[in-house]
Each structure stands twice: as structure tokens, then as C-alpha cells.
Amino acid sequence: MHLRSQWSDKTTYSNIIGEIIMKKWMTLFSLIYLTCIILLSPALAKNDAMTDLKKSIDEVIAMLKDTKKAGTPDTKTLLRQKIFQMALEFFDFSEMSQRTLGKNWKKLKPDQQKTFSDLFARFLANIYYNRLEQYTNQTVKYLEQRQHGKNKALVKTVIATQNNEIPMDYKMLKNKTWQVYDVSIEGVSLVRNYRTQFNKILRKQSIDDLFQMMKNKLGQFSDL
């Protein structure tokens, strides 16, 4: 009897200690857990590249659908202007111009750089608009995104058409919001493709010739 009571006393005592330890651990764990959540939440917050991309693409698609319903010429010119405005937010045209010209960019005077950026921006916006006009009812699937450093991200999407899927990757840069600075369609990077073309042209011709060429090309489009 004596022994037994001693035993039971010990067990209750150790139980209590155990419980206290458990509680401590529990609180510790929960604290760690909480701090983790608090620390990670900015990273998980809504302002990531994919969300920004999705938002602007959804907006453009909604706009296209609206104007297709209305379909008067007035709404079309309005749509052009709206899409150009959106393209200015959506793309980082100065970054694109720099990357496209590459080493040639540094050889230009600041005013030439500005002329080039402006022309290239208008050109790309026109191309962007023309591609959007071909939009019928494809869906965009957002596959994944990867961040590279603090301010760069790659977002992979796929455009599903009737009988195939076209992979489209966006490289994005964080300024105020995330902005696209390169688009790859089927693995073909737009910036790199234009860089090859401009390199080829600038090897034989001057930058003013290129400007003239761009202006001619812009003349083909109805104006933005």
C-alpha cells in the first residue's frame, strides 16, 4: 500500500510536470507558427506578378467582349484608345526598348533613345491591338510563376484554342505594379527576336534609317 501510494504520487507529479512542459511547447510552437504566418504573409499577399497579370488580362478580355457586343465604329476607336492606355500600364516599354536594342542602346543620345522608345511603344501597342482583335473565345490558363530576385518574375500561361494550346510566358518587372518586359510565344522571345532584327538593320544602316523604317511601318496601322 505504502509503495503504491508513493508510486501514484510520483506519477501524478510527473504528469503535472509533463503537462506544464507540453503546454510550454504548445505555446512555443503556436508562437513560431504565428510568426511564420506573419513573416510570410507579405510574400503570399495579393500583389504578386501572376495576380497583376491576370487582372489586366481579364480586364482587356472583358473590354473586348463588351465592344464586340456593341460593335459600332465609335466604340472601336474608343477601344483602341483604351487598350493603348492599358498597354502603357501593362508593358514596361522603356525596359523593352533598352533590352531590344542591347549594346546599340548605349550608343544612342538621350533624345534618340526617347524617340526610339516612343516609336517602339506605339508599334508594339498596335501589334498588341491587332492580335487582340483576332481574339475569339480562347481561354487563358495560368500555370505558374517564379520569382527571380526581388523585382523580376516569370509567369507561365497557356492559351487554349479549339484544338491546341499555345504556351505564352511573360517576364515581368516590379515597378509600381508588375509590368511585362518580354513575352515568349512558343518559346520565341519577342525581345530577342526584335534584337536580332535591329542588330541586322543597324549593322548597315543608321539609327535615323531605322526611325524612318519604324514610321513607315506605323503608317500601315490605323493610328493609335
Binding site: G102, R146, P167, E186, Y194, F198, K200
Partner: protein
């Protein structure tokens, strides 16, 4: 009508046509673009993320400027072929494909597309094996079996729609690339479009497993290749126009796009 047409064709022209079409029954490396595009999701499962990521990040403009993607010593001749192909597309292939598209129900076109695609199985499977892609080989064989039986000789594509099996556009040129063989020289082939020494060698090898090359009658062979080309082009009308519209230097644009596209195909 058809008989008259046959008589007017000079014999030599037929022979040339047979050889060219038999080599590769497609214009502008055409059907790769459509068959290829199912793959991005798959790729992400297989390839370690960081590698892929870094690869796609190597474009910082100061270090990549002088990299010539492909050697093009035949520039002058290639530009000639490019010009020829351009005219051939706008004057011949496009109007034919456009008319064909207008008068052929979309169901027929899709079925034919599936049928031709299904018969590309030997080429794709062999190259999957050569690249030791076991899973892809399985998927190829699986979809061929399903499509040939349940899909009624391949005219339907239940492997994709019901079983979610994907085909992988693989060819011998890609296999060479997989084992580190470079493009060599850029070549624009008349009628067929952009290629390189490596990819031409690949095409030659692949032609041995192309079922259409075992058709003995040259008329049927030409007919089938022509139908395949026109049918495939009918899904792609407007793509070449878009490329040209967006290009300042269409020849360089096409060359660069070809190289980038092939590199991407090899890497996945």
C-alpha cells in the same frame, strides 16, 4: 479535268515534287507548331525548376548581345528561297487552303488532322526512345493504340480528349540536338521553309519511318502529301501573316524564331 491536269505536268516536275514532298510532307515546318503545343505542363513536372528558370533568364541585355544564334553563310541563297517561299505561300498555298477551309466542314478538317497526326507515331516514338524518354514513349504508344482502335483509324482523338494522353512532337533533328549536336548552317529549303544542316539530316532519317513514303503510286503519294499540307495549313492561316506584319526584317525574324523555337523543343 484531273486527267488533263496530269498530262500538262512535265515529268521532271513530278519527280522533283515527289522527292521534295516525300522528304517532308509539310510546308514551313508546319505541323510541328500545332502538335508541339500541348507540352508546357508536362515539362514542368519533369525538369528541375531552377535549371529551367535560369535558362529562361539568360537574356540580360549586356551579356547576350554578341551571341549569334545560328551561322548563316548562305545568307544570299537563303534569302532567295525565303522570297520564293513567301510568294509560294501567298500565291498558291494560302488561296488553296483558304478555299479548302471555306468548303470543308471543320469536323472533316479536324478528323484529317488527327489522322495524319496519328500516323506520325513511328517517328515520334522512335525519337522518344532515342532520347530515353520512357514515359513519353509510353504515351505515344498508348495514344496510337487508343486512337487507331477507339478513335476509328485515328480520325478521332480520344487519347487526348478522354484519356488525357499527350503526344510529343519529337524528330531526329531534336534527338541530335538532345545529344549536343548544334544547328550547323541555317538553310531555307525551297517549299519546305526554315531548316538547318542538323535538322535536314534529321528529316532525311525520319523520312524512313514516314508511312506515306511507302506509297508506291506517285500520284497518290503527291495527293496525300498535298492534302496533308493543305489541311494543316488551313488551321494556321494568318500565322505567317502575323509574323510578317510584326517584323521589320522578316528574314531575320523568321530565322531567329526558328532557332529559338527549335531550341525550346530540344530542351523539353
Amino acid at each position: 479535268m484531273i486527267l488533263d491536269f496530269r498530262i500538262t505536268i512535265i515529268k521532271r516536275f513530278i519527280i522533283c515534287g515527289v522527292i521534295l514532298f516525300a522528304l517532308h510532307g509539310q510546308i514551313f515546318a508546319s505541323d510541328e507548331i500545332t502538335t508541339q503545343s500541348d507540352m508546357p505542363e508536362k515539362q514542368q513536372n519533369n525538369v528541375p525548376e531552377e535549371n529551367d528558370f535560369d535558362e529562361s533568364w539568360d537574356d540580360d541585355f549586356d551579356d547576350e548581345d554578341d551571341v549569334v544564334l545560328i551561322w548563316d553563310p548562305l545568307d544570299k541563297i537563303n534569302r532567295g528561297s525565303f522570297y520564293l517561299n513567301d510568294k509560294l505561300y501567298f500565291w498558291c498555298v494560302k488561296p488553296v487552303a483558304k478555299t479548302y477551309k471555306r468548303f470543308t466542314p471543320s469536323l472533316v478538317r479536324t478528323s484529317l488532322y488527327n489522322f495524319f497526326n496519328n500516323l506520325g507515331m513511328p517517328q515520334r516514338t522512335i525519337n522518344c526512345i532515342l532520347q530515353l524518354r520512357i514515359k513519353n514513349t509510353g504515351e505515344e504508344l498508348g495514344s496510337f493504340l487508343i486512337n487507331t482502335t477507339l478513335g476509328i483509324l485515328g480520325f478521332a482523338n480520344p487519347a487526348k480528349t478522354k484519356f488525357h494522353l499527350k503526344v510529343h512532337s519529337e524528330d531526329l533533328g531534336q534527338t541530335f540536338g538532345y545529344y549536343g549536336i548544334g544547328n550547323g548552317i541555317y538553310i531555307v529549303i525551297p517549299i519546305l521553309g526554315s531548316s538547318s544542316v542538323r535538322d535536314m539530316a534529321g528529316m532525311f532519317g525520319d523520312s524512313f519511318v514516314n508511312p506515306f513514303n511507302y506509297i508506291r503510286d506517285p500520284y497518290i503519294s503527291i495527293g496525300v502529301s498535298g492534302l496533308k499540307t493543305v489541311n494543316n495549313t488551313s488551321f494556321r492561316l494568318g500565322q505567317y501573316e502575323s509574323l510578317k506584319e510584326a517584323a521589320f526584317e522578316p528574314y531575320s525574324a523568321m530565322k531567329d524564331a526558328y532557332v529559338q523555337y527549335r531550341n525550346k523543343e530540344i530542351n523539353q
